[in-house]
Symmetry: C2
């Protein structure tokens, strides 16, 4: 469904979010450990997320990654997915046709329609805050 980069990016964002909630900045090392991801690869992904204004970074000692508290509830999953994987999962053709729409549909266009719409609206309506709170309260998990 998502690329590995995107999976790591979503998990990292959630971890950063719930720490930022408590005013804590987190380091790459801490993130990689928490979400069980390769450190150097995760660094690249975090750089992408910084460039795409999903998270902020602070260089130097006592630096790390954080998200402005007020933004946590405003950042939607779609923003993270878009930054790392683009919009192909919910906008591209399921069978890879370059042109695929109501007038020139691929054989599974209609079958996929509601699934893609549901996926899109889920991504656009799910924000980091709710995901972070669930992890914080032990309802959901970032690893294993």
């Amino acid at each position: 469904m998502f690329s590995k980069a995107c999976e790591y990016g979503i998990k990292a964002s959630i971890f950063i979010a719930f720490n930022s909630y408590e005013g804590k900045r987190v380091s790459l090392k801490a993130i990689a450990k928490e979400i069980n991801s390769p450190e150097a690869f995760t660094a690249k992904i975090l750089q992408d997320l910084v460039k795409n204004d999903v998270i902020n970074s602070v260089k130097g000692a006592y630096g790390g990654f954080e998200i402005e508290k007020l933004n946590i509830s405003k950042i939607k999953l779609s923003k993270i997915v878009n930054a790392l994987d683009g919009d192909a999962i919910y906008s591209g053709c399921g069978l890879g046709l370059h042109k695929c729409d109501e007038n020139h549909p691929c054989p599974v266009h209609d079958k996929f329609k509601s699934i893609r719409e549901e996926l899109k609206s889920m991504l656009e309506n799910t924000n980091l805050e709710e995901l972070a709170l669930d992890v914080k309260s032990g309802i959901s998990f970032l690893k294993v």
Copy 2:
């Protein structure tokens, strides 16, 4: 969503299906041309589909690929997807956790639940016949 191999595999199966419907066996060359895919790569995919009993092959002159007429309506999309991509899209965790279920869910487990269920049931309930008939009647398309 699907791998390139799977996209080609689905399109090839549809093309073979609607030709088999008319008693016509189709060659690799004809398939690759019709679905606009690289020939040699498509050959590998067709071999996989043969091994997984999705399609039949006939070697030698006047050989090619076909599907038994009576089976066309019995072959579900899920069988093709499973043969080429496995069941990860609708069975694996959206964030790649090894363990992810009701008791130990990833942060998006619930959000994804209905989407994955819908996807799964769509794949399990869509058969080659309906897809092939739509292409044959010009309602849907295999390329461009």
